[in-house]
Every structure is written in C-alpha cells, then in structure tokens.
Amino acid sequence: MSDREAKGKVGIRELSPIDVYKLLPRTNCKQCGEENCMAFATKVVNREVPIEKCPPLLTKEFEKAYRQLKEMLKPAVKEISIGTGDRIVKIGGKLVMYRHEFTYFNPTAFAIDVTDEMSDEAILERIKRTETFSFEYIGQTLRLDMIAIRSTSNNPEKFKAVVQKVVKNTNLPMILCSLNPNVLEAGLMTASKSRPLLYAATKDNWQEMAELAMKYNCPLTVFAPNNLKLLKSLTKTLLNYGVEDLVLDPGTFSGNGLADTLNNFTMIRRAACKRGDELCSFPLIGVPMTVWMERDGTPEEIAKWREAYLASLLIVRFADIIILHSVDGWSLLPNVILRQNIYTDPRKPVAVEPGLKVFGTPDETSPVMFTTNFALTYYTVASDIESAKVNAYLLVVDTEGIAVDSAVAGRKLTAEKVADALKTSGIEGKVKHRKLIIPGKSARLSGEIEELSGWQVLVGPRDSSDIPKFLQEKWQTQT
C-alpha cells in the first residue's frame, strides 16, 4: 500500500534511524545486545527497545546526547504508570493520533468500580471478578486491569476502610475517587505505597489535591467536564505547582451530551499529536459508567448495554483508561476484544507461516485438514483441534493472511493452491489415505480440489468449534 494517504497536512511523527544513530556513541560495542549502533538505532526508532539499553549513553560523557534523544523520542502523550508490582498499569505513551501512522502503545486500561457503601461480600466479589476475568484470544490472555474505589458516603473513615480492604485483597492498581480531599487522604494513607491514581482535581479543590499528589507521589486526574479551557488552565496550574503526572477527564457524557464527549476527546488528542500542545499531552480517562446515573428505572441490562457501547466509542476515540460498573461477561467481552484489535500493531502481519502443522502424535491413518494462514483463523482452528485432543495434521495454506470465506470470494484460496500445498507439504508420504477435510466455508472448491489433487474431499463444518464432533462422527466411520 502506498503511503500517500498516510501523510496528513500536519506531518506525522517521522523519525529516521539515522537521526538516532548520529547521537549514539557509534562504537559498535554490542553492550546493548545488537550487532552495531545502527541496528540499535533502528530498534529504538521502532520503539522496540528503550535508549537506556545503551550503557555508554548513560555516562556523563553522553549526557547531552541522551537528553536530546529523550526529547526526540518523547511521545505526544505522556506515559504514566499507576500502581506497583506485577500488575502495574502503564497508560498513555501515544506517539500518534491514528494507529496507521505508527502503532498505539499501552492499551486502554479497564477499571471496575467498588464503593465505600457496598457490602463486604459485594466488594470482595467484584475484586475477585476483576482479578480473575480472563479470555484466551489468539494466544493472548485478555484481562481487566484496575479497581476504582468511589466514596459515595463522603465519610473519611468509611473510605479508609474500603481502601484497606481492597489493598488487603488484591494488588491490582487503584483509582481513588472522591472530590473531597479529606476523604481521599484518609484512603490514601492506607495505600501510601501503592501509587494509586487520584480522582480528581477540580476548579474547587485543586490545591489540596496537588498537595496530596506530591506528598504521596501519585498521578492526579484533572476533571473539568465540558470545559477544555478550564481543563487546560488546571493542567497548567498543577504543572506549575509541581505535579507532573496528570490524567485528563473532559467528562463522559452520554445521550444528548455524547457529541461533546467525542469532540472533547478528539480535540484534546489532536492538540497533543498534531499541534504539540503540551497542556493536552496527557492520557485521557473516560467514565462509561456515568450512564448508570440516568437509569430512571430502566432494567439493568439496558444500562449495561449503554455502558458497553459508550466504552467502545471511547476505546476507539482515544481513551487511555475507562471506568466501568458492569462486570457481566457479555458486556465486557466485545470491549476487551475491541481493545486488543485497536491496539494490535498494524506494522506486523497477522499471517502465520504456511505449511504442515502437527497436533498430538498423528500416524498414517490420522485425519488431514486444511485452513488458511490468517492468524485468527489459524489460532481458532488450532485451539479447537487441541481441545478435541486428537492426533491430526493441519495444512496451513497461504491465502495472504485472508480468512476462509473472504479468501474464497477474493480468489486467494483456490483449488490450485490447496493442491499445491498438499504436494509441497510432504503429507502424501506421512499418511496412507487420501482424504482431505476442508473448511465448510470453502465447500464450493471441493470438486476442483478433488480433480486437481486426486484427494477425496470431505466437507468439514462451517465453524471449527464443530471439528471435534465432526471427527468423531465422520472420520471414524470413514476409516
């Protein structure tokens, strides 16, 4: 694809390895693990290694070059860490506004709320749900990231007690939410080492909040709903006060305020990425759970539905953290997958290596199936074959990374390709039968495959989740 569509009027952040190389020691000392300084520079530009991996650069001699490089590589949106330990969350660190311009770093963190007036059981259950939520997806485990603790009581003692409970039961990073600095500090005292995100500094409490953020070394949210001038003014004030790690909340409005939400998020991110506006160069927090304020007796499912779609809009439009109330799998699953999709590196192909894959310990009577080399298709089929615990061969046909139905429609998956793959894979020497199970969605190719390859075709299921059943019923009667 040509990059003519990638270049906007306001140039994208383009940095060549040469720019970095010029500032490196250029001794090819290999201490970084790379063959030479140019290879290291290339990785640095691709954000695959931090410049701190170059030991000489950190010496006094190269101090100036190091600072220059730091500035040169500075992301348009500051990277901020929340929490400590193995579940530490990093947000922001965005280099670009649009993912095709480079790639997005630090996927949107998902926080689930608890309050200081919930029952002990409810709190523990929500913590457990947040901690143990997991979904396996193309070789990755998708998870939830944080607990947001809200004070609905406005009572410091109650807030302190709930923060204590959360700290005791999980090491997930926290967001402490109260606009009352006294309440917030009561909670913060029991979590002083945990580096929670504080929510939030407003036009009324910013000074006390700034003191808390500095005293406990915590990142601080700036909250100025629907008022970007105020949001920037507060940010400027807090930076001058000495608080460096800020997160911006322009307000998550739904319903008739939805246009404001998207406009505010978009304007802030554009100002940061395209205009170099330092006061906008911080991560954004979205709060889809604001829909629960306006429930008005509608069923819970409808609030969950609205919260879910608001979350989707925010994941696509630049939110670096979102706070959610629903812990239902049906409402969370589309969004953890959407987050994974949007944060997938578009520079990397999602195709897997074509060729013959072996499952279990197949012999000369084991079934032979084929699928495409689109990574998602491959991983899905592979996991279904694994779960069936059968011994089998899976032939991965090169469809240029396209899924079965699209590949058939787009002529990327043809009988010729399948026949070719059968020949070159060496499968004909591994099994004594000549029966090929093909994806149900490629059924229209079956006649041609038989003609060209000489193999007998068995049309398999349209969805690979039916492979175990198919093998049990069809393969056994076949052999």
């Binding site: 095709h100 409808i302 075709v457």
Partner: protein, 416 residues
Amino acid sequence: MKKLEKENRNLGEKKQEENVFGLKLSPRLMELLAKLQEIELEDFEMNVGDLEIWLQPGAVATPTFVLPKVAAPVKAKPAEILEAEFIPPVETYPGKVVEVKLGATKTEGGTRGKMHIIGGETSPAFYTFERPVVHSPVITLDVFDMEVPLAKAVKMHVKDVIGNPAAWAKLAVEKFGADMITIHLISIDPLVKDASPRDAVKTVEEVAQAVDVPLVIGGCGDPVKDADVFEAIAETFAGERFLMSSVTRDMDVERCAKFIKKYRHVALSFTPMDLNLARELNRRLYDFLPKEDIVMDLTTAALGYGLDYAFTNMERARLAALMGDPELAHPMSSGTTNAWAAREAWLKMAPEWEPRELRGPLWEVVTALTLLLAGVDLFMMMHPAAVKTLKDITSQLLGEGSGNADRLVEWVSTKI
C-alpha cells in the same frame, strides 16, 4: 463421491443449526430484550427531541473558546488557577467525498417514496467541532430470498417472515426502522438453486411493491451470474437508483458499469481490504460511470476477526479522500452483518459470557460503531436492537451536544 460431499455438507449445516439454535433463552431475559426493543422502537417513533427519554435533558454548556494570549511563566507555586487558552484544533481539507443519491422518487424518475443522500464529508467522521455532519449515515437491513442459517438472536425476530422477502422487508422497514432494504439473492448461486435472472426480478418486484424505501440488490458472489442478474434487474427497474452490491474486479466491469449507467442505478465497488485495489477498480469504473454513481465497500471484518484492518483501511481511505485523493473520495458502505461471522456473536459459551442473545447484537453494535468512527456512510445490518442503537447514537452525535457538567460531577458519589 459427489453424493458423499453433499451429505457432508448437509450434515455440516445441520450441526451448525443445532449449534446456533441450541440454547433456550430464559423468560426473564426474553422479556427484557423484548422490552429493550419496544422501549427503543417506541421512542424512535416519537420526535427527535424525545428520542431518549432516559436522558437528563441538561442545560447546554458548550465550552467557550477565547483567543490565545501569551501567558507569562510562573515559577512559584501558584495560589490561584493560571489561565490557559483552548483553541479548537480545526483543520480544512482540500478534498471532499462525493455525494451519492440512493433511490429515486417519482419526480426523479423512480417509484420510491424516499431517497437518501450519503457522502459529502469535508471532515473526518463526527469531528463536529470542526464542521457539522453533512448527511446522516443510512442503515439498510438484510432480507434473504430463501432460508439461510441465522444466529438465534437474529432469527427470533424474523422467524415468521423467513422465505417471504416481501413480508420480511415490510417488517424491517415498519418495525425495525430500516432506511433501506438489501435483498440478498442467495438462490441465484449456481451452487445453490441457480435461480434465473427472471426469478430474481420477480423477487425484487415483490420487495419493491411491499416497501417504498430504496433497495440494495445483493448478488451471490458468482461474477458471471451476478452480472446477468444485475442487468435484468437494472433494466426492469430503470431509473430507481438501486445499489448493485456488488461490482468486483473479477466481473466484467465494463459491462456492469454500462448497464448501471444506462438504467440509472448505483455501483457498489467492492475490494478485499486493499486501498490500491480499491483505487484501481474505481478507475476502471470512471471510464463509464460518473463518480456520483459509485459507493465503495472496502470489506468489513467482524470484531475479533480482523476489525482492526477494516477500521484502519476505512480510516485511511477517508483521510486520504479529505487530503485530496479523488479515487477514494466515495461514500463507504460496510457489510456490518459480517459481525455475526464471529463465533463469539452466536456461539453458546460458558455461563459467565451469557446470554448470547445480548452478546450477539452487542457484537454487531460494537462492529458498527467502530466503523462509524472510521467514516462509514451506509451500514448493512441485521439485528433490530443493533439497528436501533446505531440510530440513537448517530442522532445524538449529529446534535449540538448538551453535556450537563454540573450533573456529571456527581457521578463520583452516585449510588447505583
């Protein structure tokens, strides 16, 4: 051998059926889902101002923007708020997406009761701080000319009209709020029923009689058969500006473009996720068709199954169009129904992910919204709740925005 293959295919389909329709929905959920639909659909028939009764109709509090001033740097800890300015980062773009008319009323040479204009954008999708949206996105609902495997969550809404495209179209327009109808001519596939162009014309005739919205004519994917069928339909319904879905690179592009032009319809230029191929096909169409008669489909992949490609491809295409690339300056259509190709949309999963009757339509909503933000103008959709949700959201996004800041602040301490 052939028989065996057929048997296998039948078996495969049957198993799929079982899989799709296996679970019984609990009565409570059924009620809720029905309610969701009812509430929402009722609302939709009210005027736009009443659209979302659940909203707090707040005071308008749009941000005020002041001209920039240079503020002096402050060294000591500030004792009061330091003023900063915010200027909306508004851009202007050299390019503009062409406007395409779908459907033709009597005065325009057709028989439709309404028509829609899509395209015309001069800003990225819903950058309404920059410029208002020119034309609201349009939703066309799928109608099939024969029985096809449908997810249970979808089938429960259309079970009475399957096999009766005219009744299905009527239901989709009157109950589900479809702006347009896509009649999918599955039966013309030589590998399915190989129905004749004449049969297809008859089916389209029935649908066109039943509803007065513009139609999308959906082919079967066979490049030769589709051209034959499209031509017969184009001629019979001359002047209707139906959208022919779709013209692909492996069809006789010249022939298709010529009959689409001659009989005054619109081409859907379909390419598989590659902007260079999209440009190439559009260039071939330009030899015979004006730009105003071309909508493009850059391929929609489902959430979880390549949505990132579809999203980025469309976002790039739209930004390119705005930056002045004329070959991509067409309104975009999305086969959002593809969301249902994701097994997570219809499969019965472990109890913690259920009910799929909500998960499924939400899958379609999330797929649609993602692409809405990339710039899609025409959505081909399936589930009534997904359609209603997309309509609500787009109408909210078209508005001025009236986020109530004073009320929102309370979210922190609100008991749920």
